[in-house]
């Protein structure tokens, strides 16, 4: 037969309702016979009752609203801090650009340029402009926008309008050079206005949300 000492651990588990099966039956049988262990169990329950009386203060609904706001602010701050991690966005933007069938020259700050490109792409479908004059097109393979958005683009052609190439499918739209330049400036100015916030957007959702907002304000 076990001695009282060997029941100690099971006594504690019993107090928490964590004893079952044979162990439980055995202990209960012992408790009927042993005053010492019954007393020990009482002491234990008394102590644990006192421990339970230590409560966590209830918080008000106002606290919980502020809690959510604070948490969201922390989440935003964290996302800003982690801003350089944006490969997936670049990939997605690249896919979009490829969809539209245009090749873009990217500025040294990739995220910034990619956003600008996506914004542009979102508004207009532009076919390949054949043999363009590099000085006049906003984005061509060998030209980098140096100082955006303050720098004025090079002046357009005399006629201004590019004639659609005969090989271009009729469903696609052709955009004038000035329009392209103007749009780039417009978009970049908009980006500058949006400032850091937009550049630091991290998730795809944030990007698309911003783009949709911009699409809403720019007439198609």
């Amino acid at each position: 037969m076990k001695n009282c000492r060997s029941y100690q651990e099971n006594l504690a588990l019993y107090a928490y309702g964590e004893l079952s099966g044979r162990d439980k039956a055995e202990l209960e049988h012992h408790l009927v016979e042993c005053d010492g262990c019954r007393q020990e169990l009482e002491t234990l329950e008394r102590i644990l009752g006192v421990v339970s009386s230590k409560t966590v203060p209830e918080r008000s609904p106002a606290f919980w609203s502020a809690y959510n706001a604070k948490l969201q602010a922390r989440l935003k701050a964290e996302q800003r801090a982690a801003a350089p991690r944006r490969m997936s966005i670049q990939d997605r933007l690249k896919t979009l650009v490829a969809d539209i069938g245009r090749t873009f020259r990217v500025r040294p700050v990739p995220a910034y340029a990619f956003i600008a490109i996506l914004l542009l792409a979102g508004f207009f479908v532009v076919t390949r402009i054949h043999s363009p004059d590099p000085s006049r097109i906003a984005m061509v393979p060998d030209q980098t926008i140096q100082k955006v958005p303050h720098e004025t683009p090079a002046p357009p052609d005399a006629d201004g309008i590019r004639k659609p190439d005969t090989k271009v499918p009729s469903t696609e739209t052709v955009m004038s050079v000035e329009l392209a330049d103007a749009l780039v400036l417009q978009e970049l100015a908009l980006l500058a206005e949006l400032g850091e916030d937009l550049v630091l957007l991290q998730t795809d959702q944030e990007i698309t949300r911003e783009i949709q907002m911009l699409a809403d304000v720019v007439p198609s």
């Binding site: 588990l13 421990v51 009386s53 966590v56 989440l75 959702q205």
Partner: protein, 220 residues
């Protein structure tokens, strides 16, 4: 253009607003949405778990400000790590494991630097807890009893804080939050038998340390 708009619509959180209701009841769907960067889904989950998370953190810190901070930290970690949640364990066990780890880090840092006694005294003096927060103490009709309860309550917090890490975790999770031992085993990543042993040792220590306070004034 249509393709682009379609893609935008697919990405947009507004595009999914309609199925908000059907999704709300299902945690796994919420988790899928969070994986796609849906912050609204994240906040739904936060609302579901924040009260318990705060309470658990409070048990570890015995401090309102830190409880708020640590529970939020756990939610931020959850958001960051959601991609690695494969659904093998229950979601809440997974989340509470994150929370407990955050709390462990905290207690490890604080055990060495500040005495629990000093901290608990500062807490009531610096206005961190409002009178409403202390209602359970204030409501007591007998001032002498109120003082005794407050002292005992502080003593309880102090002794729990003084427990070795594992014992403290197991005790808090079992005694105050009512998790089953096998759930705790999953949360703290150890065998159920080990959890039992930790609980038993914690109970023994608390019994020994608190007995003079609980039974002392009864002449026991």
């Amino acid at each position: 253009m249509k393709t682009l708009l379609f893609i935008l619509a697919m990405w947009s959180p507004r595009g999914r607003a309609e199925d908000e209701k059907t999704v709300a009841g299902d945690e796994l769907l919420l988790i899928e949405r969070i994986k796609q960067g849906d912050e609204q889904a994240f906040m739904v989950l936060v609302d579901r778990y924040k009260h318990k998370a705060y309470r658990i953190a409070y048990r570890f810190t015995d401090n309102a400000e830190d409880a708020e901070d640590l529970s939020q930290e756990a939610f931020l970690k959850l958001y960051r790590a959601i991609g690695s949640f494969k659904g093998e364990s229950g979601f809440y066990t997974w989340f509470y494991r994150i929370l407990v780890n955050v709390c462990i880090d905290y207690t490890r840092k604080h055990k060495k630097t500040a005495g629990a006694d000093l901290r608990s005294r500062e807490r009531y003096g610096n206005g961190e807890l409002t009178p409403e927060d202390c209602e359970d103490h204030r409501a007591d009709a007998d001032p002498a009893a109120a003082v005794f309860n407050l002292e005992l309550s502080e003593k309880v917090a102090e002794e729990i804080a003084a427990l070795p890490d594992r014992q403290q975790q197991v005790f808090i999770l079992r005694h105050y939050e009512g998790f089953r031992l096998r759930e705790i085993a999953e949360m703290i990543n150890c065998a159920e038998g080990t959890v039992k042993a930790h609980l038993f040792r914690a109970v023994c220590t608390l019994k020994e340390r608190l007995s003079p306070y609980v039974f002392g004034n009864e002449g026991r």
